[in-house]
Symmetry: D2
Subunit: 155 residues, 4 copies
């Protein structure tokens, strides 16, 4: 079982999502940085489409801004401008800054992420079922999520 999300502020939502509160649903977490080219070209557009295509399903898509470099360039004001310009509408949490000068933020550290983009999928029981670093193929991602959803709906 993973530590829960450590988020200093949520954007695009009035709530404070957590793995605990989302028990019973599939949770997809896309960890990104707003100045990470592969996140911008591939991961975030994919996550936005996923957010739209999973409407009405027992699933929640979340973004997690895990800034581990260029901290001065990727603060909350910059992230808000980025979210506005890229028309991102899914909930995005700002990973809580690292402790005692650690450049790695807290959730990223606890979950052992290798970098951005990273994609994690937790099932309805909160168990980690996938953890990918780098670009993930649309078809493969759909098959994986679909199977987890199919298992849930059958039980």
């Amino acid at each position: 079982m993973k530590t829960d999300l450590q988020v200093s502020r949520w954007l695009n939502t009035e709530t404070s999502p957590s793995l605990a509160a989302l028990r019973g649903q599939l949770v997809v977490v896309h960890a990104f940085q707003m100045l990470c080219p592969a996140c911008v070209s591939h991961g975030l557009p994919q996550t936005q489409r996923l957010h739209q295509q999973l409407q009405g399903q027992a699933a929640q898509v979340l973004g997690l801004h895990t800034v581990f470099e260029h901290h001065e360039a990727m603060g909350e004001v910059a992230l808000r401008a980025f979210i506005h310009e890229y028309r991102l509408t899914f909930p995005i949490g700002i990973d809580r800054p690292g402790l005692e000068g650690d450049p790695i933020p807290q959730t990223m550290r606890a979950w052992g992420l290798r970098g951005t983009p990273s994609l994690l999928i937790f099932d309805a029981q909160g168990r980690l079922r996938a953890h990918e670093f780098g670009a993930v193929d649309d078809l493969a991602l759909g098959l994986l999520l679909g199977q987890l959803l199919g298992e849930m709906s059958s039980t």
Copy 2:
């Protein structure tokens, strides 16, 4: 329940696939023409990737060459050259020519396909679960197939 596949010849396989024989598996049928631009640019590459990604699952991907125009340009010799050049490795059946001068081949007629590319998905009980005309999004296709697979594995 749909009429079964009416195929005059199978390529890329030693067997003669049919919906009846594949009962118990998910069956994806991609109907195409070798000179249909959207089939060549989108449908066939997607089907080839699907064939690879579904290895080891209870699923079978089939191509169906439903020639309803330019019949002289898309005979078996031409299709074999096309399959070779495009490195297609999934089983492909040639839809049986239409009866009594009908330009529409028999399976295409029986299934009421609107044109190419068309994608049909049959579940383990042989029931038609999806029938799409035109380009289908990778993520949406993966989610749909995954859910059908997930339901099967849970029962």
Copy 3:
């Protein structure tokens, strides 16, 4: 100086283009086969755009169907269907079949083409200025053709 085009039939034109007759213009020849994947995905769409963007300039874009394999699958009837389906509107010549059983057609043999797609550019004096095998970048192609056109217009 290259041998002139050896063409058994021209499609998409009432005329019989030749390097000799086109002296004074830039001539771009795209050699392709209708079942060559890189021609279909890259070379032919690029050539079609080039044909449109060079309207009104002292330049002529030509296609050359240089069939050196799968001859039975790529005859004139098949090529006509292909041209219709892919909405190609520039003049396309069928390279004259090889002599004495040579599988390589005559222009392809005379010009020493390595395969398809190949792109050749002849200047206003009929001199070969570029000969590329494989995919050519749009920006690089534009720069090259533009410079040849610029030189012509200044002299």
Copy 4:
């Protein structure tokens, strides 16, 4: 004749490029904002390729960071991180902030740019030869630049 570039700081160069100093060369100016999606997906990659393909020619490619919105998110520190992450190597100038509270920076105001991305091309005499707003096709851009280069080399 346009006002010259008004730049508060140049990055990726030890010099201070200006239209006046570059007289005799073709000058391509790509005006962008680091949080403008079409700049990131299309304009900047195209400009980077152009910079590489014009090496050795009488031409200079320049970027101009014309921030007219989200000023707090796109300061110099953020731009430096962006340039590093996106591996941009051509000279990039920061357009001088607008006067008297004008959100539009000075060069953008003087040149009447409509937004980002914008592309301007000045010939060897410093005359504006093209001014495009939005995405520009690679082939069309190559043809235009090539023709201007061809005219120069012939005179």
